[in-house]
Symmetry: C2
């Protein structure tokens, strides 16, 4: 529930047609390779442009709503459960005749069995294959034929599928989605063919990208026990072994209505959506209930760790330092909100301390910032990062970042910068809510990581309550350089042996 | 199947009464804390002394055997299977009226379910509790009453229990062992009480020992996917949650005759042992067969990683650099043997390059060496290490070690040093065989990690066949400093923030 609505859209687009969501990666805005490799550019329909225009318009008109920290009344959501356990949230938004329909499954890469990494993301692909009632690709073509757009993404805690269409087509979308929730045909041939696709995806997006290779090993160094250590795309040697038996077991375990959240945002009414949902998803049998999502947790970190990759393709070096911190899913009351504001003040954008000090004042960095990924089921990571500009040395940038970290740990933040950060933060959320897609995203990701509708509603109030002492406390408690993990991406140096 | 017989005894003694075996740790000879914390010193009986004397005597008389690279004829082993699938190896040794009786279970910490770390070692403790036929501690007292010794140890791939007694008492030992293989009474009370013991063991042996804390995080940094990353003792937060349900499931899954190896070495005859084994272990029902031990494997390492711990209790710093390499369980033919000889030549003792160069010639190191732990089911680690002497800097020691690594990678080894290393190596194995306990250890650990009796028998011949090219090839392939993991233990420096 961080202010990552924009990061999340970025992540989704970055992920391409069926890409790996990089929700936890700070590199999303910086590594265009993730944007270039769209595997389904055809599905980026005219509606994308419409939505972009709408979002821009919303930025201009949202002023009145900001004063009250509340979204426009028409965005008031309705939540209910279907009899088979499927959660539904409807968010009416009548400004344009479009509707966003998303199904979020509460399963991501962190839920995978040992040795089966990549299967959650693999399923994101398999869900586009033939079912008992539709041929492979038929759903895609239907969306395309009606001028809609669709996509899917996978992260550590969830896998989501969405379509944006005109309201009269909502029932068709629901019908397709409900069908593939239960009727997927998983043959050896389907599994093998699609496995080649994900293997190629890994080669092109990870193995060919030094930053992605480094990120993977940094993640697996930061996380020594918790499964966020395992890459969403999967380890190559395990992806190669994924088979039909694995796929069938995974499908029947996780692709159940009681393990899914339906979000419908747009030019619709809750009662009508409810009727449609009962008519489509409501027909899917409940299936076995899932036990609580309890995963291995991280031991205390006692060391300073570094991970260094030198590669001939790197021209400008960079570094990032990470810490394990609580998420909205694991934090004590107020702690995740304080971490959100800490990240905002320390390095949340052009007004942040890191940017102002390193990029503007000292002029040694081309980028510098901080990030906190709060919307996670388990403990998450807090990151600071930087890259040098011109003749500046990476070590100088790192030292300057470390100095800002040390300063915020020892001196905390001022009441003035805290209030300004809260304003920016809450406003960005409200702007996010004003974008239909972002709204659906906020609800979906929150509900898929253990939160509920109230958590979303009360979040601005909880942010408002954070004190300077609380921000200083989380900085002092978590941002300890002797217990951090730093990744370095460096230009190639002479081989050592 | 490395020459770790002596290391293994060290590990076992280091592990104390029911300790964590540190088979893979190079620190075993260096951190006396592992020796001091014997929880069952009473069981170190007079037979230990007898065995030590016997071993010393054997050193003096082993000369003739060495010439042929063969053990004395009387050590010829006999192997067979019981009907319930239990493997048995009998190694007659009539020089003294004692017998070593070991049961090795093919389950170690690397077989634990996710989130249940420590349960394999926990079981080593629980096996000394009450059964349907004997009270808790009764087995221990019986061994003590007859002047025998006993102990147990746990590692990544196996858990073993052994007793050394006079031959007439062998049947009694077998009867006790066979009983606790099937009749353990696991109550909530037993589990909770013993859990407190292992938690205390973790506190005293790991959490109070900076070297052990560092080693744990280095292991979890070196291994990013393979379960050797998880400490044998377990992560504290998971040990605290281990309960009766976990224990019962683990017991019935792994403590089965078809998952066990019985080694009997000493003043016995195979036929008599077979009859006793059938009378005791043979009565235990076969139980379900275990599937092959297939575990998550390690992805390729592309980075250089470091892990640094600074602690006020450290006076002399040290470092160790590790690589993931094949073990006897995973290597192509000849590769593990070449790694064994590489470790021997580079840093296997006082005649090794590292010792001669750093300790003797340059005089900058108090210790320097290399280690290869070959007897593992999955890929293992190759380690080089060093600590400065006097005013020397750790960085200078590390640079000198790295230089020796680079030299052996680029120039390989000489035929003369390879032949000498083979001699030392094979001799140390024969000396090991000459020690009853070591013989049992070699067979038990080999059979518990996927090997067989022939592997043990043919090992000297395979070592003899290794060429200088093969040693250079494994050095060049695996000892790449840009793809290594280094741990630093440092004295406390001023806190950074």
């Amino acid at each position: 529930m961080s202010k990552s609505a924009s990061e999340r859209s970025c992540a989704r687009e970055a992920s391409g047609g069926f890409g790996v969501s990089r929700l936890r990666s700070r590199y999303c805005p910086k590594t265009p390779i993730w944007f270039k490799q769209l595997t389904k550019p055809a599905s980026t329909s005219a509606l994308y442009t419409l939505r972009a225009l709408l979002f821009t318009a919303a930025l201009a008109v949202v002023g009145p709503a900001l004063a009250a920290d509340k979204p426009p009344a028409e965005f008031k959501e309705t939540a209910f459960l279907l009899e088979n356990g499927m959660e539904v949230v409807v968010i009416p938004d009548h400004r344009a005749p479009i509707v966003t329909h998303m199904v979020w499954y509460k399963v991501g890469s962190a839920d995978e069995p040992p040795g089966k990494s990549g299967i959650a993301h693999f399923f994101e692909h398999l869900m586009f294959k033939a079912t008992a009632h539709h041929e492979a690709g038929e759903f895609d073509r239907a969306v395309s034929d009606i001028g809609g757009s669709n996509n899917a993404f996978t992260s550590y805690d969830f896998t989501a599928f969405y379509e944006t269409v005109a309201p009269p087509d909502l029932e068709l979308m629901m019908s397709f989605e409900a069908d593939r929730m239960r009727n997927l045909i998983l043959t050896d041939d389907v599994v093998k063919t699609e496995r080649d696709v994900i293997l190629e995806e890994r080669r092109s997006r990870i193995d060919n990208n030094p930053q992605a290779v480094l990120d993977e090993e940094v993640d697996a160094t930061l996380w020594q026990n918790q499964p966020y250590r395992i890459p969403v795309i999967g380890w190559m040697q395990e992806m190669q072994q994924l088979n039909r038996t694995d796929a069938v077991a995974f499908y029947y375990k996780y692709y159940q209505p009681s393990n899914a959240v339906l979000i419908v945002a747009g030019d619709v009414e809750p009662d009508a959506v409810k009727a449609l949902a009962e008519k489509t998803y409501g027909k899917v049998p409940r299936g076995p209930d899932r036990p609580p999502r309890v995963r291995p947790v991280e031991p205390e970190q006692n060391t300073k760790r570094t991970v260094t990759l030198s590669d001939a393709r790197v021209s400008v070096p960079n570094f990032s330092t990470q810490w394990v911190v609580p998420s909205y899913g694991t934090a004590k009351p107020g702690e995740a909100e304080a971490l959100d504001l800490l990240a905002e003040i320390l390095g949340g954008g052009n007004r942040s301390r890191l940017y102002q000090e390193l990029v503007v004042r000292q002029g040694i960095a081309s980028s510098a910032g901080a990030n906190f990924e709060g919307t996670m089921l388990d403990d998450t990571n807090f990151t600071v990062y930087g890259a040098p500009r011109g003749d500046a040395k990476l070590a100088d940038v790192e030292a300057a970042v470390d100095a800002e970290v040390a300063r915020i740990v020892s001196d905390g933040v001022t009441p003035d910068e805290l209030e300004k950060a809260k304003d920016r933060y809450v406003r960005s959320r409200i702007l996010g809510r004003d974008n239909q897609n972002s709204m659906a995203d906020i609800y979906g990701s929150t509900l898929a990581t253990g939160g509920n509708v109230q958590d979303v509603q009360q979040w601005p109030d909880r942010i408002r309550k954070v004190t300077t002492d609380e921000v200083k406390a989380v900085a002092a408690r978590y941002l300890v350089l002797d217990r951090s993990t730093t990744g370095y991406l460096l230009p190639q140096v002479k081989a050592e042996n």
